[in-house]
Amino acid sequence: MRMLFGVFLLTISSLALSAPQGDALYASHCAACHGDTGAGGVGVPLSLPSFLNSVDDDFLRKTIRYGRPGRVMPAFRALSNAQVNAIVRHIRGWSGKPVPDFSGKPVRGDAEHGKQLFASHCVACHGANGEGGKGTGVTFSRKRDLPIIAPALNNAGFLAAASDGMIRHTLQFGRENTPMRSFLEQGLSEQDINDLVSYVRSFGSGVAPPGKQTATVTETTITAESSYSLEETIENLEGAIVSQNFILIRTGTLEHGLTTEGEEDSKEVILHFCNFSFLYEALKVDPRVGMFLPCRVTVTERDGKVMVTTINPLYLSRLFNNSELDEFCKRMHGVYSAILEDATL
């Protein structure tokens, strides 16, 4: 009995010593996007006072847990509740004010009237269907004097995280230093605001719940066997790349720079190319897109067989959780397929 009690005490003290450290967890999971001090970057500025003053801890917890499907913010499902709470405490530490306490009661309003109000007051920033502002992060896609991109109100993660009371509070008081202004100050009544909340909540009926798995692309590459020699295939590829309005940057071996000149395998060749207009648009959508860059086709000759391979952009795009980027990847998949077809048939 005494021994059991001793083990119990040891476990309790061990637990206390190993309590999750919010600052360390934030640094390893959040800081790369949101900044070390929450000032924002690829992700939204979490330390913005008007943000922290208008969201409760449940919203932060659920946002970490569910993420924003298709809107870059990943779902951190593997974190324990204690770890999520520690991160929330760390974020909350940037605010000197008490945690907002919103009513858990559903807001009753006229969603049809809310829809009309949404069309006249919200669509410009949040989109016709509440899909949110375009782009990601500060680097390429928006001016630095705009601290936040209008959130996607129809996003399953948002709808799961935000209570009616929280949405209502934001509509009532707005968010200082962001384009979101108080709707009371704009002349809407409390009932109008309830109607808007009901309309925003109605977005939930048309979206999949957060965490639902989407279809997975299993083809990791786009590959074609060439009916030409290695040299002819390279020449064909150079022509096909230009005909797709891309600029050929360079042609070199896959091993270039990894070993001394002359030691490289001349039967593995990469053609790098780019369309800077396309690239610029893609970078505005997601600054992490460098992982696709530069566009390239690899040609190999093994046992007399010439193969042409590219990455499958659709396979990679799933890593980014960015539905806007998915559209670019579909276009790029088409370009790669056309180049391979032109060069190998």
């Binding site: 970057g41 395998d265 780019c274």
Partner: protein, 152 residues
Amino acid sequence: MKRWLASIFLLCSLLHIPSLVYAEEIIMTRSVLAFPEAMLALQESITAHGYTVSRVQRIDVGLTGMGYKTDKYRVVFAGKIEEIRELTDKAPALTAYLPPKISIFAEGEQTVLVTINPQVYAEIAGDAIDPIIFTHWESDLRSIFHDVNVAR
């Protein structure tokens, strides 16, 4: 009493199980260093970990050359020749993804680094390759990113 204590002990023990390691597919870090210093720290750490920087693609230079306004943005390719040869030989699908690369771009006065978790390559390679190599790469990449993250 004994049963009650044993139950609490069991509960505490269960709570004490460390959470699963978060297997994110994109690895990112942020450096408080400006772009040139962060770039230098990155290349030094890559070399210190035994990898060769094979090429640096200057994305920003191409964009500005075409008239687009952009911040500093580079892609750094690195690898070990013997590993790259083994992988492309045994898993041809990987040739489209190799050598591994790290994107590095300025974000105001700071710098952000992004790369694909090498475990993604393991999925592409399938059974053709012992996945231990990708585990080593992931460990090295995290170490490299840590070096850049703490460099001052």
